[in-house]
């Protein structure tokens, strides 16, 4: 589906439409969805009375901010050598595309996201991490 078609679907958002198709939140008895934000007496803090089910996971991916050493040594070395932003991005992408994995994605993500806080760096990232590179990040397929 072309982007133009997708965009046309999204246009009602500008007018603030797109709430539930049949009932507005006010019609479904929406009271205090968060009791903490409501004046009054609240309770139910005596804890779960029922035996817990076996531990299971829902496959939740969390990207926390690593403390202190978020920048891997090879990237630190580049920074210390005054490498350009382009060189740092290329080095990160080369590592990630030569051995694509969740671990290398986490690594390249942390670097790109920190650079992507500014419009200028976003332009640089977008130029280097083009569609072909993004495909390699996802699926492998060798170096750029």
């Amino acid at each position: 589906m072309p982007m133009s078609a997708i965009s046309s679907f999204a246009s009602p958002a500008r007018a603030g439409l797109g709430r539930g198709p049949t009932l507005s939140p006010l019609d479904v008895g929406r009271g205090p969805t968060s009791c903490e934000a409501t004046v009054g007496l609240r309770g139910g803090d005596a804890g779960p009375a029922l035996p817990r089910p076996p531990k299971r996971t829902h496959g939740v991916r969390r990207f926390g901010y690593a403390q202190g050493d978020w920048l891997p040594p090879w990237a630190r070395e580049q920074v210390d050598q005054d490498a350009s932003v382009e060189d740092l991005i290329r080095a990160a992408v080369d590592r990630a595309t030569s051995a694509p994995s969740e671990a290398t994605f986490v690594e390249v993500r942390s670097i790109l996201n920190e650079l992507g806080r500014t419009t200028a760096h976003t332009e640089t990232v977008k130029r280097i991490v083009n569609k072909r590179v993004r495909k390699q990040l996802m699926r492998g397929g060798g170096k750029r």
Binding site: G18, C35, G40, L41, A46, A49, L137
Partner: protein, 281 residues
């Protein structure tokens, strides 16, 4: 394939401005993007464009009006395989990247409303019969995702949430009170591949007033006792529903998505419904 999905969210139109890159590994279901992460990228209420890429599952990026993955939302969805660009305007207080329709697995999808609304009304009316407490309007059947700072709920779990406004009838010379009760329910697949429900906790609220304490004292044991009965009720309903396992996973999608939505953009509200998705082994 090394990743299931990647999402680039931009503050500017046409993939410009600041951005946030997130993704899902092959075993992941959700990647929450909280208000803190959005704020750190200048993306709160300012997600103007996005690019989604996915491999072996459909990918869905829901952008919510509230910071706790609730409220009205816009969902950008891409069917498995390839990349798609989107533009967006409107609130963005939190976002959630969700994999669905994983290749190699079939799914059953049911509406929380359709499955449980009538059951809840009957259940509660029976419990309240003969008391001075009655249902006040409709229940809110919604979800609670990754609750933070909650003693009884896990930040790594996803819950169905039942919120029911109540009316407390007082003797004629006193004014009536408003109140409510909430239950958070965890769905899980047991070792036999069967779907089960666990009522994780209960909450109640009474509006301020001289009688609020006494009402709360009466409401608390009833609400607590309701946990076990409710769990039995839900599990009986699940057993009777046409949900043939064995299943390998159960997960939730916001709003009503009873069929895979493909590549599209659609709007919803977590207060209207939640879709329960059962992935077959």
């Amino acid at each position: 394939v090394s990743l299931l999905a990647a999402a680039w969210l931009y503050s500017g139109p046409g993939e410009t401005g600041s951005f946030d890159l997130t993704g899902l590994g092959t075993g992941d279901r959700y990647a929450p993007i909280g208000d803190g992460e959005l704020a750190s990228r200048g993306l709160v209420n300012s997600v103007a464009s996005a690019t989604l890429d996915c491999t072996q599952a459909d990918i869905n990026l829901a952008i919510f009006s509230n910071p706790d993955y609730t409220g009205s939302f816009v969902q950008l969805s891409k069917a498995a395989g390839g990349e798609q660009d989107y533009w967006h305007s409107g609130p963005a207080q939190s976002a959630l990247l969700m994999a669905s329709n994983n290749q190699g697995h079939s799914e059953d999808r049911v509406s929380f409303q359709d499955l449980f609304r009538a059951e809840w009304d009957n259940f509660l009316d029976q419990k309240l019969s003969g008391t001075n407490v009655s249902r006040e309007g409709y229940p809110l059947l919604t979800w609670q995702m990754f609750p933070q700072n909650d003693r009884w709920l896990s930040p790594d779990d996803i819950y169905l949430r039942i919120h029911q406004p109540l009316h407390i009838t007082m003797p004629w010379y006193w004014s009536d009170y408003s109140a409510s009760v909430d239950y958070n329910v965890l769905l899980f697949v047991d070792g036999s591949g069967l779907l089960n429900a666990w009522v994780a906790d209960y909450e109640w609220w009474v509006e301020p007033g001289a009688k609020a304490g006494k009402i709360g004292d009466q409401l608390d044991p009833e609400a607590r006792a309701g946990m076990s009965a409710l769990q039995t009720e839900i599990n009986n309903k699940l057993a009777l529903a046409d949900l043939a396992g064995p299943f390998s996973d159960v997960y939730l999608l916001p709003g009503s998505q009873l069929e895979p939505v493909g590549t599209t953009v659609f709007f919803g509200d977590t207060s209207t419904d939640v879709t329960i998705v059962l992935q077959h082994k």
